[in-house]
């Protein structure tokens, strides 16, 4: 029998800033087994929601994850609105769409940078994060803060966009598109990047269904599923098609994300063009009662909320199923048999967000 080495991969590791531990069992440099160990970020949000006021839980939802904070507030607000039967003004729906897409842009750019970093491509990492700063500038200008914006609330949005803000957005989007046009060919054509990603971390379509892959991971394996097609917020009125790649490897998943950046830019432009006038916030009275399931497309995939409220001040149950949790079994499947040098990239290729997983 070959000699086996056990490498503790994480929880503190430079490649990804988040703590997850993989105990990798190696034969020489090939991984024969990977055991994920979670729990380094568990905060007990589901339990906190059962003791806090349901309006304050909104802020808790925002702090499930700092990267997709907008998505969590959006999902939570929509779920509560559905429970209480509130109709959100159309302008607020469009604003929510714009912010959600900005959030997706910054998340995808962040991921692209980390992926470049994982394969040791310093320069590309810096260039993508430089482009990301443009998005953060837009977010800060329109929402008031870089990460925790608090701009979406139950019943609408807290802020409105004026004509000059929209002009600023359009202007910056052009900058961003230029930067992305420079970055895109590097990701799609660079021979050394291809050498590191093509055929690495294979996940066939059948496996993706069986193991419950969602989001870009599933779309990289040829499954055309995008929760935005459900038509929540203003997505029903904006025409778009999900980005699908059929190469089933890290390269495919990478391309899905890069292409989705362009798609997001298009969606924001369409939303700005169609933005209806009117109010952005309706008054909310009463307490939620009943059960609801909310599915939303996060940058990382499908987010599933199950809310149960009994007419009390706080919720009876708030079940958060985040995309990364669903993508963990495919990840374990992909890591088995990979080379040690490819493990960081494969782990990143599902866009792990441990803060979401552990709540």
């Amino acid at each position: 029998m070959k000699r086996r080495t056990v490498i503790p991969f994480g929880p503190q590791h430079v490649v990804f800033p988040e703590p997850i531990q993989f105990r990798l069992i190696l034969e020489e440099e090939r991984v024969v087994d990977a055991i994920p160990a979670l729990g380094y970020m568990h905060r007990g949000i589901e339990q906190l929601a059962t003791v806090k006021d349901f309006t304050k839980t909104l802020y808790l939802a925002e702090r499930i994850c700092g990267i997709c904070s907008v998505m969590h507030t959006l999902a939570y607000a929509q779920a509560i609105e559905e429970l209480m039967g509130i109709e959100v003004p159309p302008r607020a729906k469009y604003l929510r769409t714009i912010w959600a897409e900005l959030g997706r842009l910054q998340s995808h750019l962040l991921w692209m940078g980390l992926a470049a970093d994982a394969i040791g491509y310093e320069s590309l990492f810096m260039q993508t994060w430089r482009a990301r700063e443009v998005v953060l500038e837009m977010i800060e200008f329109t929402e008031g803060s870089r990460i925790m914006t608090g701009s979406i609330t139950i019943g609408g949005t807290k802020r409105d966009l004026h004509a000059e803000s929209l002009e600023f957005l359009l202007h910056k989007l052009e900058h961003l598109e230029q930067a992305l046009n420079d970055i895109y060919p590097v990701f799609s054509d660079d021979p050394l990047i291809k050498q590191r990603t093509v055929g690495v971390g294979l996940l066939s379509k059948a496996d993706a269904i069986k193991l419950g892959a969602v989001g870009p991971t599933a779309r990289g394996s040829g499954i055309a599923e995008d929760m935005r097609l459900l038509g929540y917020a203003a997505y029903g009125e904006l025409d778009f098609q999900p980005v699908v790649e059929t190469s089933c490897d890290s390269y495919g998943r990478m391309l899905v994300r890069v292409k989705e950046c362009f798609q997001s830019i298009e969606l924001i432009r369409k939303a700005i063009a169609k933005l209806p006038p009117g109010e952005v916030l309706v008054k909310v009275k009463g307490r939620p009662e009943g059960e609801v399931i909310m599915r939303i497309e996060q940058p990382r995939g499908e987010l599933l909320y199950y809310l149960k409220a009994g007419g009390d001040k706080s919720l009876a149950r708030w079940r958060i199923r985040t995309p990364t949790l669903s993508n963990l079994p495919p990840l374990v499947h992909m890591v088995k048999g990979a080379r040690l040098a490819d493990v960081p990239l494969i782990t990143l290729s599902i866009d792990t967000c441990i803060a979401c997983v552990e709540r």
Binding site: I7, V14, V15, A118, I119, E122, S123, R130, L340, A341
Partner: protein, 287 residues
């Protein structure tokens, strides 16, 4: 060589080489930062790092590790010294490899998986580039008729004109030795983004890391001196050649991702070794 000149070279090796090596490292970090659109650290940054590391509280996993660090530095300084004194090239490269072996043994002496796997990769790197160095020595002997480094200065035309392909095949060796992307498999000194944390030097800290850093400066100067051997007839030419090499490596580092070791072995043996063999064969058949 006269006695005072030899003494001068010894002094220069001990005093000037680390200064030059440190400044070059600082320059390289600055250039990389500029290529990435950043301001970058000051030119003297490596010296601050060295002083700071030297004054941290020493922590070592075991005693033998410390011995290997000193051995690494000693062999590195010796190889540079022997080179500047115009000694036998074969011997010099032998000592140079021994410096690497000392580092590998140090990495293997601790019970850390990162350090162990880093050492294994360093061994693979050693195996990868060593044949090219041997061919370099053979080609050198064919042209000059001697193994002595001092012989290169008395040639009529620079070595570059007879050994152009050998110089090109030396480029991957240079990249491997200075631990730059795409061949930064075993460790990196200033870029932390690695699946093995720091690879072979993970378990060194404080003053011992400072010694490794110092050795890497000597190494850089030695490798650049080896490059300048290809234009040893004229010191301007040698300096120019070394400068071109230095900037080429810095740029390549910036525009390539890290590759896997199997790809590295294939590439270096196919392209690097191939070019060197062609050059040597050409010398045999036509000269």
């Amino acid at each position: 060589m006269s006695y005072p000149a030899g003494l001068g070279i010894i002094l220069a090796t001990f005093l000037l080489a680390p200064v030059v090596g440190g400044l070059l490292t600082g320059l390289e970090r600055k250039v990389i930062a500029r290529l990435q659109g950043r301001v970058g650290p000051p030119l003297t940054q490596p010296f601050y790092d060295l002083v700071k590391l030297w004054h941290k509280r020493p922590q070592a996993a075991n005693r033998i590790q410390i011995v290997y660090v000193y051995a690494h530095l000693f062999f590195m300084v010796t190889s540079l010294l022997a080179f500047l004194l115009g000694q036998d090239l074969l011997l010099i490269l032998f000592i140079f490899s021994f410096a690497t072996v000392a580092l590998i043994l140090g990495g293997l002496s601790v019970d850390s998986p990162y350090s162990r796997i880093g050492s294994q990769r360093e061994i693979i790197q050693l195996v990868t580039y060593e044949p090219i160095l041997v061919l370099l020595v053979i080609a050198y002997y064919q042209v000059t008729g001697s193994f002595m480094v001092s012989q290169a200065r008395s040639l009529e035309q620079p070595l570059l004109f007879t050994l152009p392909l050998v110089l090109i095949s030396f480029l991957p060796v240079f990249i491997i030795k200075v631990r730059k992307s795409p061949f930064d498999l075993a460790t990196q000194l200033h870029e932390p983004h690695q699946e093995l944390v720091k690879g072979i030097i993970t378990e060194y800290s404080g003053p011992y890391l400072a010694l490794i850093e110092l050795a890497s400066w000597y190494e850089l100067v030695f490798l650049l001196a080896l490059v300048s051997l290809f234009w040893a007839t004229n010191w301007v030419g040698g300096l120019l050649l070394a400068a071109i090499f230095f900037f080429a490596v810095t740029v390549i580092d910036n525009i390539t991702p890290r590759v896997t070791y199997s790809w590295m072995v294939k590439f270096v043996w196919k392209v690097g070794l191939g070019l060197a063999v062609v050059n040597v064969a050409w010398l045999y058949l036509w000269k």
